[in-house]
């Protein structure tokens, strides 16, 4: 089987064999599983841990697991984590230093932890998010070596989206439920079986170890139909306008005050966002002062201390912090990294305790701009 070969078909035993083969390769297999009332990403011992028969019911600020009669494994969206939890961990030691009794200081760089991950069930939106975050963290002059190593080693089994959630809007960000290149294997779940396409030599070699058969045109057609149908069932949409221009034209919009009155500035949106990448560093010393460590941890533009310069924070009001997040995500991200920072996964909508909806905020900004335009005419 090669990258250009015809699609294969796995049944549930085949999926089990796929996970077993990945485990046998010594990989840490991460995939969706049910825990604490949500479908989280965690290490899987076997495919049995996948959320067969579970779906989600979503709204702004609300996420509930629901039973599905069809027993599907990958018919869920907008879980509380994304793959960045593994590629770009929340906390990471960068270096440590020791002071000897003579007063000399020696520094020891921390070799980054680079587990051999296999990511099972990466949705198309999240595959795009991985590509975006990869450009941010490894694309510039100061590449994050840990991230690069983890991404390089990771094997990706993507799953096409056949069940968008009520918070999903990937189509309006230029994406969609069909998978883009960047995977090793791509699955499409069709009636309890999995159409498999190969995206890399490594993926091809893996599929060879797993019992499978040719998919045939009927299954391929069903898979295409399921993905096409998903495209039509997006729960939400961003307005079809040039968002970068809209953000640039909205810096003094009144809507920022409206959203700031509802925004808790708790930072949840940035932490569930699969592309938000900001970190800060902390020095951790011990009581003797002879040992110190530097740790990198996730930070958020919603934290008051995030913009703290000499004398105080630059963005002290919630208005300025929400505006920073949204205008960066949809606007200046283009200037910085060449694309939008949003893939339409809907996590920031579902996991905002206050239910602030990015699509609604952008639509309101668009309406306000139109009203301003009318006034000046």
């Amino acid at each position: 089987m090669s990258v250009t070969a015809a699609p294969a078909l796995l049944d549930r035993d085949g999926l089990n064999a796929l996970v077993s083969a990945l485990v046998a390769q010594g990989r840490t297999v991460i995939g969706p599983t049910v825990r604490d009332g949500a479908i989280v990403l965690a290490e899987l011992d076997s495919a049995d841990a996948l959320p067969f028969g579970w779906g989600v019911e979503l709204d702004a600020g609300r996420y509930r697991l629901v039973r599905r009669e069809d027993g599907a494994a990958f018919a869920h969206s907008a879980g509380p984590q994304s793959w960045k939890n593994f590629l770009h961990p929340a906390r990471e030691r960068l270096w440590s230093a020791e002071r000897t009794p003579e007063g000399d200081v020696s520094f020891t760089p921390q070799e980054p932890a680079v587990p051999s991950y296999a990511f099972l069930g990466v949705r198309p939106c999240d595959l795009r998010a991985i590509a975006i975050q990869g450009r941010v963290l490894t694309g510039g002059r100061h590449a994050d070596g840990g991230y690069a190593g983890r991404r390089e080693r990771a094997l990706i089994v993507a799953v096409e989206c056949t069940e968008p959630g009520a918070a999903c809007f990937c189509v309006s960000t230029g994406g969609g439920p069909a998978v883009d290149p960047g995977y090793d294997l791509a699955l499409t779940e069709v009636d309890g079986r999995f159409l498999v396409r190969v995206g890399s030599d490594e993926g091809a070699a893996l599929l060879e170890q797993v019992p499978h058969r040719g998919a045939g045109p009927d299954v391929e057609e069903s898979a295409r139909a399921a993905v096409d149908s998903a495209r039509e069932r997006m729960g939400r949409a961003l307005p079809p306008v040039d968002l970068r221009a809209l953000m640039g034209a909205s810096l003094t919009a009144e809507r920022w005050d409206d959203v700031a009155a509802r925004c808790l500035t708790c930072g949840n949106c940035t932490m569930v966002c699969p592309t938000c990448f900001c970190t800060t560093t902390e020095e951790v010393t011990d009581l003797t002062g002879d040992h110190t460590e530097r740790w990198q941890r996730w930070d958020s533009c919603f934290d008051l201390d995030f913009s703290y310069l000499h004398g105080g924070p630059v963005r002290s009001s919630p208005r300025s912090r929400y505006r920073q997040w949204l205008t960066h995500k949809l606007g200046t991200w283009h200037d910085q990294f060449g694309t939008s920072g949003c893939v339409g996964c809907g996590r920031c909508i579902a996991w905002c305790p206050a239910g602030i909806d990015i699509t609604e905020e952008v639509a309101a900004l668009d309406t306000e701009r139109a009203a301003r335009g009318t006034e000046t005419d």
């Binding site: 009332g37 708790c266 951790v284 002062g289 934290d303 008051l304």
Partner: protein, 250 residues
């Protein structure tokens, strides 16, 4: 000469100074770095001031407290208040919203024996404070960080952000979004490591308001999750009642 450390208490339950004794792995190292001059919960042997670093738990609830805290301040080069009582008035600040005389008559057989102020106030309402460490009780790791920072002559690395940061960092599923459980995490200062949500309970705000808090925005969320007006007030009126109350009507 090693710097001297003193621990004092005002109106409080002793839980915060007990946190210092709970630092079992670090106590010997700490004793090597500082001279523990006054710490009645640990030793009846006390030395007089001045002290380089003083930790104070408890709130000011009597005229005597108010006098003592001025004397403690005068004897301390650095004064750090620890816990919800010392930083926000504590649970006993519920009296600030009530009629203390009525309480006194109802609770005590001989109300005339009780000599108390009408309010419970944080130490910072009486004297200058160099640093406030929040929590009910305070977090052991944060206490060690404050002591370590003092010894190193730097600012303690104690975050201002919300408990949500800690939930997300440890991978706890949001109890509000996924379970509909009322939670004060979005408005509460991090520091405990997001303990309660990890056990599927809502945060009840024992670390007080975070450094950037929009409490009025949480009220409709709490109402959505089933609390009526009185429930919301009771939810906020615990260990940091006065601090949250100030945030409700900023």
């Amino acid at each position: 000469m090693k710097p001297t450390l003193a621990v004092f208490k005002l109106a409080s339950c002793d839980g915060c100074q007990l946190t210092l004794l709970d630092c079992e792995d670090e106590l010997l190292t700490l004793a090597g770095e500082v001279e523990i001059s006054h710490f009645l919960e640990a030793s009846s042997s006390v030395a007089g001031g001045p002290y380089d670093l003083t930790l104070v738990e408890g709130s000011v609830t009597t005229a005597g407290d108010a006098e003592r805290i001025r004397a403690i301040r005068a004897a301390s080069r650095h004064l750090v208040t620890i816990g919800a009582c010392a930083t926000a008035g504590g649970i006993q600040a519920l009296r600030n919203f009530a009629d203390v005389d009525a309480y006194r008559r109802v609770v005590y057989a001989h109300p005339e024996y009780i000599d108390t102020l009408a309010t419970s106030t944080p130490v910072s309402a009486h004297v200058d404070v160099d640093f406030e460490l929040r929590g009910c009780p305070i977090d052991k790791r944060q206490l060690i960080e404050v002591l370590t920072a003092f010894l190193a002559g730097r600012k303690p690395n104690v975050p201002n952000h919300s408990v949500c940061f800690e939930c997300k960092r440890r991978g706890t599923v949001c109890v509000t979004v996924a379970h509909g459980t009322p939670c004060l995490g979005p408005v509460t200062r991090a520091g405990c490591g997001a303990l309660c949500p990890a056990y599927r309970r809502g945060c009840f705000g024992c670390f007080g308001p975070s450094g950037s808090v929009n409490l009025p925005a949480l009220v409709p969320v709490l109402r959505r999750d089933g609390l009526d007006e009185g429930d919301v007030q009771r939810f906020l009126h615990t260990f940091n009642a006065t601090a949250f109350d100030e945030e409700l009507s900023p």
